[in-house]
Point group: C2
Chain length 291, copies 2
């Protein structure tokens, strides 16, 4: 594989903090540049290998899957891959802002609870904070603490934000009136999201509180949750005899625990979401083995 | 107040890791020594002040409340306080082992999920691990990570133990068939336990999995959950502009979310538990203001 493609894969594999949109942009922009430089040459085999490897290194991200699928469908023509990457990058950069325009009015003036970090959630909270009374509770989101990173960004732009421990979500959810979370993928049966999403959904179920999931259309993909074990040393100091750690970043929440899904097109029912997933034209090289 | 009493209070206030039993023993042993040295002298006013301050510095621990209540009832006679402390220390040291004898057979051979750290849970898991097939999932338990500390001790003595992030409890609870947790207090309406207990109870409710709570009889006390905010810097690096952290160590779970309570006397119904709490002879200096 071309060393530039290897380098992109390496970065995607090593990135433990970026949300799905930032990660997709981080692939699209350099890949577009590379394909423009390859104008007139053939790179089909490299691009196919790259697309398949991309899905293996981030198997739970719908945006990455759609990017890989799009590359595979166009791999015979590098200039077509370049323009696809350009439009996907533009889509990812703007979709969060468009989702925020749709969702902000649903949460404005309320005490909102969320977990982890998502660019769509970030833009929504910033937009909603214009209205008096809006405030946010964010879970720390161990092991990588990306909830703290988002809280800092929110605080910096003047959103009223309180950080809590992940284990305190059940307690603090009684202070909130609505929960929102970003999605990494929407599949045929529900949402794949950062670890803690199921925990948030349970709190919502038990308090009869709405859970709004934000997922731009690039995240709808026919993928199943992959076990994808991460570095155990993020949870447990290495060299702890007799103890192991299971470190998973993603989990799946069925549609019945989600009150509404919002993409840049507006509010979707679970039937709308399922239709979008079934509509994907899956390249044969991405067909999953049954799990 | 006598400097020895101030020193005990200071230690109790600063201790963020010990479970309820270890903390009670850490008060009883030095207090007994002090009262033995004070033989024949009066220290009633100091002991009363000490007992009231003790409850203020650890307002959510039933064992501390019972210790303070016992001291107040005997404060006129230092030798009586000394012998009370002696028997309370003995009780706390042995009750966990006796609870383990009762509970181990309930969880032996199963995959058990727990959170935080408790001496009764520790002894139960060690005893249960004698039977083939027993294994344990322990939540990290941020902010102080006492779940990791307990996991290390369990691993050291050969218990099969896996550590997970707190936010992964919903996901991993589907691997377990029973949940156990220690209590810091049993009050008239339920259990006060370490933050994460409500989260565990929610997972049990949603998966129809039993939640066994271990609480020796010294923990039954007519106290209400106190807000008791802890150092926010345990969650959020100091100097983070625009963001605050709410760090609470304890929460309350009503009896209806608990399958069974076990003390050293065996399995208790919630009615048994309530009777034990109502039976406490509350010293007037400990009567709580209505909350």
């Amino acid at each position: 594989m071309l060393p530039e493609l290897e380098a992109i894969l390496h970065r995607v594999r090593a990135d433990r903090l970026s949300g799905a949109s930032a990660l997709a942009i981080g692939v699209c922009d350099p890949l577009r540049g590379l394909c423009e430089r390859l104008q007139g040459m053939s790179a089909q085999k490299d691009l196919e290998e790259f697309a398949q490897a991309l899905v293996r290194v981030q198997p739970n991200m719908g945006g990455i899957w759609n990017l890989a699928n799009g590359i595979l469908h166009r791999s015979a023509d590098v200039s077509s891959v370049a323009s696809f990457c350009g439009s996907m990058s533009l889509h990812c950069a703007s979709a969060s802002v468009r989702i925020a325009e749709v969702v902000a009015s649903e949460v404005s003036g309320r005490r909102i609870i969320t977990t982890s970090s998502s660019s769509a959630v970030f833009h929504t909270l910033v937009k909603a904070s214009g209205e008096r009374g809006t405030s946010v509770i964010v879970c720390e989101s161990r092991p990588m603490r990306e909830g703290i990173l988002m809280a800092r960004e929110l605080g910096r732009v003047g959103v009223s934000v309180t950080v809590i421990a992940d284990a305190a979500l059940a307690l603090f959810s009684s202070d909130a009136s609505v929960a929102i979370a970003g999605a990494d993928a929407v599949n045929r049966s529900g949402i794949i999201g950062k670890i803690g999403l199921a925990h948030l959904a349970m709190a919502c179920d038990s308090r009869n509180m709405p859970l709004l999931v934000l997922a731009d259309s690039s995240k709808f993909a026919p993928i199943s949750l992959s076990k994808d074990l991460r570095d155990p040393s993020e949870l447990l100091e290495p060299g702890t005899p007799g103890v192991s750690a299971e470190n998973r970043y993603f989990e799946h929440v069925p549609f019945e625990h989600v009150s509404a899904i919002f993409s840049e097109k507006g509010r979707l029912s679970s039937e709308d979401a399922q239709r979008a997933v079934w509509g994907a034209k899956v390249h044969p090289k991405l067909v999953q083995k049954p799990q």
